[in-house]
Symmetry: C2
Subunit: 410 residues, 2 copies
């Protein structure tokens, strides 16, 4: 049975909006995959009374309370002290932790100050969770009707310790984890995705399956988790149905990003890419080169913003720019072919459009974008009209261009 | 006096990690400027019992509870119903709201379904907050010892209604708002910023001033808010001190972004820019072209990833690449000058480096970056060594390049 879980975060910096608490959403997402729901999330400042009250309330309601923050060396860090007070026990120095902190400081050539010792003081009866990602260890302790698991708030430490010490423990507690699958869609509105998924979600056979959406604009992620015996086979049968429903709109299955997929496929084929962008202003090149090892497949990007640059660097004739306009099928094709020819690559992407807010006309309103893909078999073109502001138009265009290449590389 | 404020959010999508609740951090930040602190933030799912419990608890502790979410048309949307139940009053149809919803549907040419009527049903005794950003109105009502203010969770609606109806009301309640100032730093570590600010923060004269940091990596924002009489003059005197402490590391005062500042300054001077990037892979061009109207100052970006592209498009001699390596002062200068000459612009930026994770050597480790800026007065060069992963090195490099141009344009 899945336990009742609550999340409790502490830190003034979270209550003044200095930092958005992304740890919680991350943990909720990972717990979802395990079939564990979070009942409530509470955020309090670095205040003794507030923290003690929140500890009492959460540990009276939940079976597991995951707490983040307040384990640092400063006076404001009150978590260990408050948990000890709530448990009615003193803090005790944990010698192996002190040793680990000392070693860490030596390794980085820094001087250990007395307040760093504070991080080795743990409530009596608590179990230390060693932290190889940072200085302050976590710990878990029985409190109220719950187990409270205290972790540092620094994201890399919080996530690392969750992966190492929290999620496996919860997984063991609930028995067999569900079989979870994820597909990533591009080019489908969220409401349409929901409509198309309805028959699958409403199928009596899938009554025990949890479905979830996530809008990572411009991507939509659809997830499902199947519990019990034969879960993997059932999850894969749903995957087959979902593939049938969305076809090419599925650009990825699993955690891989669109640009990673494109770079991976180019690499497998030993092919190379060049890009000529206007409205996206370098976003396509930027997405590709964000992938480690992109230099194996990417040669050149040209952000030909001025018409003169389109002519001088990519050979787009002035006459075509004058007669068709910079935002046109002809220019998109010439950009793609120009980038490919200039760099001597297998593939060339061309993209030109009106990102707004200015520059739209009745014939070519803001959001008008022409995409072209030049490849070994010729050049393809797509005329598109996107909705939204400058950022949305640019981002959708860059995604669309990469997605066309992905489809061409199948 | 500043009232005790709590934030209560509802929505299953927030508890499964589908959506990160950015509304809360946004509101906390805006409240900070007013001198209003948030005491606690609570997040519950779309569950009647949980919502009723949270309403009872928050309205017993706080004087103002800002609630977001649960005002939509579906069965899961329980906010109005639960607030009415907690108040011990029925829901009543609010005729002007129903009319506004109907008009909105007509305007967008959509059919109004019966469940949309639900959004016009408000607890008796509550005051409607009209919503010109979306369908569901907000409302405020007395509950417990608090005023509870219920707003839709859609960010544009939540923020719009906060600006229109929540923040002015709170501001009126606390009297004279403090004078708030913001400076944005680049190139200073957060801990160093804190060290340098110490004398200002510890100055007895500034005892009543609230100071705050915000790490928007790679930027650091330092804010302060001065209360009481003569606040504006005092805030500006602190600004003068802070300018003295950080000098050129302050790239902005107020909300403007680095790229906006650079585009604005180029525009004022009637000058134009071209960029040649290697390791940043289009990020500089992308940042510049994200600014509306960038085409007035930006002509060309070249992402010269392959050495052949550096030679063919920007005239970097093969001999220099062979003798100095692609990541070198000579190549950075030639990239900047090549971009400037090719596009015929006033300014050219060149950037080449090793973003990692591979490609580092003992002489040129990952994070080595050479920047150059070619302008009317010649070419300047900076050799840099950044820390962090591929994304950090690229992002820092792109910021650094834009910041050099900002300084040159003073």
């Amino acid at each position: 049975m899945s336990p009742v879980v609550e999340i409790l975060s502490t830190g003034d910096e979270l209550l003044t909006g200095q930092i958005v608490d992304t740890n919680s959403a991350w943990l909720m997402d990972r717990l979802w995959d395990l079939g564990v729901g979070v009942r409530r999330k509470t955020l309090v400042g670095d205040d003794r009374a507030d923290l003690l009250a929140a500890l009492a309330e959460t540990t009276a309601r939940a079976e597991v309370v995951v707490m983040s923050g307040g384990l640092g060396p400063t006076e404001d860090d009150l978590t260990a002290e408050c948990v000890a007070a709530a448990m009615g026990v003193p803090l005790e120095l944990h010698a192996p932790t002190l040793e680990a902190i000392r070693e860490r400081f030596q390794r980085f050539g820094r001087t250990m100050t007395p307040n760093n010792e504070k991080q080795a003081r743990i409530p009596r009866g608590a179990t230390v969770i060693p932290n190889r990602f940072g200085t302050a260890p976590g710990f878990r302790a029985p409190l109220g009707r719950a187990e409270v698991i205290c972790l540092p708030g620094v994201p890399v430490e919080f996530r690392g310790l969750c992966e190492e010490a929290v999620l496996p423990r919860l997984a063991a507690r609930i028995g067999e984890p569900p079989a979870a699958r994820l597909v990533k869609l591009f080019g489908v509105a969220e409401s349409h995705a929901d409509d198309r998924m309805r028959p699958v979600m409403d199928d009596p056979e899938n009554r025990d399956v949890r479905f979830g959406y996530r809008a990572h604009w411009p991507e939509i992620h659809v997830k499902w988790a199947v519990p019990g015996a034969g879960a993997a086979g059932r999850a894969d049968r749903i995957l087959a149905r979902v593939r049938g429903l969305f076809g090419d709109a599925i650009f990825g299955e699993g955690r891989e990003e669109l640009a990673e997929l494109v770079v991976g496929r180019l690499r497998e084929r030993g092919q190379r890419l060049a890009v000529a962008e206007s409205c996206t202003g370098g976003m396509v090149a930027q997405m590709i080169t964000a992938v480690p090892g992109a230099s194996a497949v990417f040669d050149l990007g040209v952000v030909a913003y001025a018409n003169a640059a389109k002519t001088a660097l990519l050979g787009v004739p002035e006459a075509v720019l004058a007669s068709q306009g910079a935002v046109s099928e002809a220019v998109a094709r010439l950009l793609a072919e120009g980038a490919r020819a200039r760099a001597g690559t297998d593939w060339g992407i061309g993209i030109t459009g009106i990102a707004g807010p200015d520059g739209g006309t009745p014939e070519k309103p803001v959001g008008t974008v022409h995409l072209a893909l030049a490849g070994p078999g010729g050049t393809d073109h797509w005329a598109r009209k996107y909705f939204g502001d400058r950022d949305r138009v640019r981002r959708t265009g860059a995604y669309d261009a990469l997605n066309r290449l992905r489809l061409a590389l199948r």
